[in-house]
């Protein structure tokens, strides 16, 4: 939630910039947005009409760059590097940060070996520096570095822009969660009713026993 609040004003700024620019000047906006250290969401910029109009023009490759930053990873860039413009170092750093978020979507425990391959990092020290300085300090991810087991346990990861088709599974998960919670509430209410009924029956039983004891005492007397 904090990361969304932090980047909301930057999103607004770049959306306004994109709306007011056209053609080649939009390229600068795209490069600036994808290099910005505090911006990790690009769906709003992607949906600006002037950006969409870049499709089919000489600058359409920059829409691909924006899409890559919205949904893709560093590995995707490497495999398509030929058809994409070269990235500046701040863009490379940003893309690697976003790649970590994608990896954290799949698994909560990320082995160092996987991270080193995906993020193109040669040693553990460099990886840990990247995770701490670039990811944890910027607030996009929270977790624990387990040096003994050589893994990064992710406790929280900021959400990336939704890919087409992701909404359906999100709705399914939320529905499942809702039905689990509803069922839990129903069973708690049933248990409360059961406990109340049992308590009433026990009290009644106890009273009957006491009445019988009194009766027997009177008979004996």
């Amino acid at each position: 939630m904090d990361i969304e609040q932090k980047q909301a004003e930057f999103i607004d700024y770049f959306v306004k910039q994109a709306e007011n620019q056209k053609g080649s000047s939009l390229v600068n906006v795209i490069v600036e947005a994808t290099s910005h250290p505090s911006l990790f969401a690009f769906s709003e910029i992607l949906s600006v009409p002037s950006i969409i109009q870049l499709q089919g023009t000489e600058f359409s490759v920059y829409i691909d760059v924006l899409r890559l930053f919205a949904h893709g990873t560093w590995s995707d860039y490497k495999s398509n590097a030929g058809s994409l413009p070269p990235l500046v170092p701040s863009q490379v750093r940003k893309l690697k940060q976003l790649s970590l978020l994608t990896l954290a979507e799949v698994d909560k425990v990320l082995p160092y070996d996987l991270l080193m391959v995906e993020l193109d990092v040669s040693n553990v020290r460099e990886l840990e520096d990247f995770l701490i300085n670039e990811c944890m300090y910027s607030g996009i991810v929270r977790g624990k570095l387990d040096q003994l087991r050589r893994c990064f346990e992710v406790q929280f990861a900021a959400g990336r822009d939704l890919r087409p088709g992701q909404l359906g599974s999100m709705i399914q998960t939320l529905s499942a969660w809702l039905s689990t919670s509803d069922n839990l509430l129903v069973s708690i209410q049933d248990k409360i009713k059961w406990a109340d009924t049992r308590s009433e029956l026990d009290k009644k039983h106890q009273k009957e026993i006491e009445d019988r004891v009194e009766e027997v005492k009177k008979t004996l007397n």
Partner: protein, 46 residues
């Protein structure tokens, strides 16, 4: 609302909160201990 969707996506990614063999073992052990205490208390009541 893209911002809300991202927040929801981030929240859903956190589920399940804990999923590991060790947690299951500890949880079931705690469960068994409590059931045992309940059983002993019932015997004491009787």
């Amino acid at each position: 609302d893209n911002s809300l969707l991202r927040q929801v996506s981030s929240l859903l990614r956190r589920l399940p909160a804990i999923e590991s063999g060790k947690f299951q073992d500890d949880f079931l052990m705690e469960y068994n201990d409590t059931l045992l205490i309940t059983y002993l208390a019932m015997i004491t009541n009787c």
